[in-house]
C-alpha cells in the first residue's frame, strides 16, 4: 500500500499539462508531414496519457494506474520499433518520409 502523498501540485495543473501535451501530439500528427515527427507526436500523446495515469494512481492510492503506465511504455517501444521499420521501408520505396506521398490507399 502506497503512502498518501502530500499534494503540493494541485491535480488540475497536472491534467492541464497532460491535455496540452496531448493536443500538441494530435496537432503534430495531423499537421506535420514528416513521418518521423508524426511518430514522435504519437509518443507524445501516449506520454500525455501516461502522466494522467500516474497522477491518478498517486492521488487515489491505487497502483493499477502505474502498472498500466509500464504496459504502455512497453507497447510504445514495440510500436516505435515496428513504426520505424515501416518508415525505413517507405523511405526505400519513395526516397522520402513525407506521408502525403502515400495516397495509394484508395478505391
Amino acid at each position: 500500500m502506497l503512502m498518501q502523498i502530500n499534494h503540493i501540485v494541485p491535480i488540475e495543473h497536472i491534467i492541464t499539462l497532460s491535455c496540452i501535451l496531448f493536443c500538441i501530439g494530435v496537432m503534430g500528427v495531423l499537421l506535420r508531414r514528416n513521418a518521423i515527427i508524426i511518430l514522435m507526436c504519437i509518443e507524445l500523446m501516449l506520454n500525455a496519457v501516461n502522466i494522467l495515469f500516474a497522477t491518478f494512481s498517486a492521488y487515489n492510492g491505487n497502483p493499477d494506474g502505474q502498472i498500466f503506465v509500464f504496459f504502455i511504455m512497453v507497447v510504445a517501444a514495440a510500436e516505435v520499433a515496428v513504426g520505424l521499420a515501416l518508415l525505413v521501408l517507405i523511405y526505400r520505396n519513395t526516397r522520402s518520409v513525407d506521408v502525403s506521398l502515400l495516397d495509394r490507399l484508395k478505391w
Binding site: 495531423l30 506521408v99 490507399l105 478505391w107
Partner: protein
C-alpha cells in the same frame, strides 16, 4: 358378372400400356389386334351385365379406394353401374371395338400404328371412367382424359404444325369448359357436402326450385358441356379436329366424346330440373348451334368438314331436347347418332382411303360405280341422318320434334328447319361424292380401290345398326306393346324427374312424322335435280360473293376469335413480358443499382488515399462523437 366389372375399365388401360410400351417392337397388325380385343372384352362383359340387369335391379356402386380424402373434401375412386352408364358403356365399347377393327385396315401402313392403338385404348379407358364414375370428380378424370386423347389423336401426325395447332386448339377450348366444370363441382360440394350422384339426387329432392346456388352450379356444368360438346361459342375446335385420322373423327369427334356434354346434363338432370332458366338457356344455345352449324355445313367442300359441322348441328339438336327435359329422347338420339355418324365418318374414311387421301368433294364424283360397298353404306348413313322412314335417325329425330311440338312451337319450327338443312347438306354431299362423273384426272381413277374386308365389316355392322337402331325405342304408335324399350330401361334414372313426358295424340304424331319425311324426300329430289341431273358444282371459293362467301368462310368466327382473343392475348403477353417486366427491372434497378451507385459515387471521394486526410477525418469524427455524447447525456 357385376363383380368383375372393373375389368371393363382395366382392359383398355392394359391395352394402352402394352401397346404404348411394347408396341413398337411388335410386328404387323399385332398392336391392332391387342387394342381391339382390349375393347371387345369389356363390351362382352358389359353386355353380360346388361342382360342381367332387370328393371327392378338396383344401381351397383363399386368402391375401389379413396382418391382424395381430407377433412373437408372426399372423393372416392368408385364406379356406378346403372341403366344410363350401362347404355353409354355399351355404345362406347361396342362402337369402339368396331372402329378399332376398322382402324387396323385404315392405319395399316402408318409408322405410328402401335401408338395409334395405344391412344385409342387410352381414350376408351377415359371415356369409360367418364360415364361410369360415381361422382363428379371421377367423371372429371374421364372428362379431361378424353380431352387429352383427343389432343393426342388430332395431332397424331405430329410432324404437321397445322395439325398440332388444331390439337392444341381443341385442348384449350375444352379447358375453358373444364374450368366451368370445376367451378360447378366445388359449388355443388359446398352446397351438398357430397359430389356423389346418388347422394346428390337424394338431397336435391329437398331443394327449392331456382335456388341461386343450383342455378350457378348448373350453369357452370353447362359451360363444361358446351366446351366438350362443341356448342356456341366453343364449337370451332370440332371442325378443326378433323385433322386427326378418320377413325378418330368417327369415334371421338362424332360417336362418343362429344356426347359427353349430353351425358353430363342427363346425369345431373335432377339439378337441371331445379333450374328451369338454365334449361331454357340450354335449348336456346342448342337450337342456335344446330342451325348455325347446319348453315355452315351447306357450303363446305371437305367431306370430313361437312360431317363435322353436321355433328355440331346434331349435338345442338340433342341439347334442345335436353332443354325441354326430354332426357330419354336425347339419349336415344345420342345412340342412333353414334350409329349413323360413326358409319358416315368411317364411310368417308373408306372414300378417302380409296382415293389415297383426297378429301375435297369437288375432286370426287361418280364413285358409286367404283366403290359400291362403300356407296351403299354411305347411302344408308345419309338416309338415316336425314330421317327417312324407317331408319333409326327418323325415330330419334321424330321423337325430339314431337316433344318440342308439345313444349314450344317456336323451338319445334326451328328444329324442323335445322333437320331439313341436315337433309340438304347431306344429300349434297352424297350426290357430289358418289353420283355424276369422276372429276379428277383419269390417272388417279385407275388407282381407286375398294377398302379391305377388315374395314368393310365394321361398316356393314354399323349400317345394320343404323337401319334397325330405331327398334331400341319405337314410338307407341308403331311398336305397339314393345314400344319405348330404351325409355323403359332408363326409366329408373328419371323417375324423380318432374318433367317426364306423356304421350300425345296419335293422329298428330303421324301427321308430324309424315310432314318431316315428306319434306326430306322433296329436298332429296330437288337436290338430285341440281347436282346429278344438271351436274352443277360448288363454285370455287374465290368467286363467292356476299352471304355465300360468308358461309363458306364459316361466318368468319375463327378469324373473329383470332382478332378478339388470340391476338390481344399475345399482345398482352408481349407487353407484360417486355414492357412491364423491364419496368420492374427499372424500379429495382433504381433502388439497387442507381441508388447505390450514386451514393457510392459521392462517398468514394472521401476515400482519396491521403493518409493525412484520413487522420483528420478520424480525429474530427471522434471529436464530433464526443460532443454528441456530451449533448445527449444532458
Amino acid at each position: 358378372m357385376e363383380k368383375y366389372f372393373y375389368l371393363v375399365i382395366l382392359f383398355p388401360l392394359i391395352g394402352f400400356l402394352v401397346n404404348g410400351l411394347l408396341g413398337s417392337k411388335m410386328k404387323g397388325t399385332t398392336p391392332g389386334l391387342i387394342g381391339t380385343v382390349a375393347v371387345f372384352i369389356p363390351f362382352l362383359i358389359a353386355l353380360g351385365v346388361f342382360f342381367n340387369y332387370g328393371h327392378e335391379s338396383q344401381p351397383i356402386l363399386q368402391n375401389y379406394f379413396p382418391w382424395i380424402n381430407i377433412f373437408d373434401f372426399q372423393a372416392n375412386f368408385s364406379i356406378l353401374i346403372d341403366p344410363l352408364s350401362l347404355q353409354m358403356t355399351l355404345i362406347i365399347t361396342g362402337i369402339g371395338s368396331l372402329i378399332h377393327l376398322y382402324s387396323i385396315g385404315y392405319m395399316h401402313d402408318d409408322e405410328g400404328f402401335a401408338r395409334f392403338f395405344s391412344y385409342l385404348n387410352l381414350f376408351i379407358f377415359s371415356m369409360l371412367l367418364l360415364v361410369l364414375g360415381s361422382n363428379l370428380l371421377i367423371l372429371f378424370i374421364g372428362w379431361e382424359g378424353v380431352g387429352l386423347c383427343s389432343y393426342l389423336l388430332i395431332g397424331f401426325w405430329y410432324k404437321n404444325e397445322d395439325y398440332g395447332y388444331a390439337a392444341r386448339k381443341a385442348f384449350v377450348m375444352n379447358r375453358i369448359g373444364d374450368l366451368g366444370l370445376i367451378a360447378g363441382i366445388v359449388l355443388l360440394w359446398s352446397y351438398f357436402k357430397t359430389i356423389e350422384f346418388q347422394a346428390m339426387a337424394i338431397h336435391a329432392a329437398n331443394v327449392d326450385m331456382s335456388d341461386p346456388v343450383i342455378i350457378i352450379a348448373t350453369l357452370c356444368l353447362f359451360i363444361g358441356a358446351i366446351g366438350k360438346s362443341a356448342q356456341i361459342p366453343l364449337y370451332t375446335w370440332l371442325p378443326d379436329a378433323m385433322a386427326g385420322p378418320t377413325p378418330v373423327s368417327a369415334l371421338i369427334h362424332a360417336a362418343t366424346m362429344v356426347t359427353a356434354g349430353i351425358y353430363l346434363l342427363v346425369r345431373a338432370h335432377f339439378l337441371f330440373d331445379l333450374a328451369p332458366s338454365v334449361l331454357n338457356l340450354v335449348s336456346y344455345v342448342g337450337i342456335a348451334t344446330s342451325i348455325f352449324a347446319a348453315i355452315i355445313a351447306l357450303r363446305q367442300n371437305d367431306i370430313k368438314k361437312v360431317l363435322a359441322y353436321s355433328t355440331v348441328s346434331q349435338l345442338g339438336l340433342m341439347f334442345v331436347a335436353l332443354g325441354v327435359g326430354a332426357y330419354t329422347t336425347a339419349m336415344f338420339h345420342v345412340t342412333t347418332h353414334a350409329f349413323f355418324k360413326a358409319l358416315l365418318f368411317l364411310g368417308a374414311g373408306s372414300v378417302i382411303h380409296a382415293l389415297h387421301g383426297e378429301q375435297d368433294i369437288r375432286n370426287m364424283g361418280g364413285l358409286k360405280n367404283e366403290i359400291k360397298s362403300t356407296y351403299w353404306v354411305f347411302l344408308i348413313g345419309t338416309l338415316a341422318i336425314c330421317g327417312i322412314f324407317p331408319l333409326s335417325g327418323m325415330f330419334s329425330k321424330d321423337e325430339i320434334l314431337t316433344v318440342l311440338f308439345e313444349k314450344s312451337k317456336g323451338l319445334w319450327a326451328l328444329s324442323l328447319f335445322s333437320s331439313l338443312l341436315t337433309a340438304v347438306y347431306m344429300f349434297r354431299l352424297l350426290f357430289l361424292t358418289f353420283f355424276g362423273t369422276y372429276r379428277d384426272d383419269e390417272h388417279k381413277k385407275s388407282k381407286i380401290h375398294e377398302s379391305p374386308m377388315v374395314m368393310m365389316a365394321p361398316l356393314w355392322v354399323l349400317a345394320i345398326l343404323s337401319v334397325f337402331g330405331g327398334i331400341l325405342n319405337l314410338p307407341h304408335l308403331i311398336g305397339g306393346e314393345s314400344y319405348g324399350k330404351m325409355a323403359h330401361f332408363l326409366d329408373p334414372i328419371f323417375s324423380h324427374s318432374k318433367l317426364a313426358t306423356e304421350h300425345m295424340d296419335a293422329g298428330l304424331e303421324i301427321g308430324l312424322m309424315a310432314l318431316v319425311v315428306g319434306l326430306v324426300v322433296i329436298i332429296g329430289f330437288v337436290l338430285y335435280n341440281i347436282y346429278v341431273k344438271k351436274e352443277s358444282l360448288p363454285k370455287p371459293d374465290m368467286s363467292l360473293r356476299g352471304v355465300e362467301a360468308l358461309v363458306a368462310n364459316k361466318f368468319g368466327v375463327d378469324e373473329l376469335y383470332d382478332t378478339v382473343i388470340s391476338k390481344p392475348v399475345l399482345g398482352i403477353s408481349r407487353f407484360f413480358g417486355q414492357k412491364v417486366e423491364s419496368a420492374f427491372d427499372g424500379i429495382s434497378g433504381f433502388f439497387f443499382v442507381a441508388g447505390f451507385k450514386s451514393i457510392g459515387n459521392s462517398l468514394r471521394k472521401i476515400q482519396n488515399g491521403n493518409v493525412e486526410f484520413y487522420l483528420i477525418l478520424m480525429t474530427g469524427s471522434i471529436v464530433v462523437l464526443m460532443i454528441l455524447q456530451f449533448l445527449i447525456k444532458i
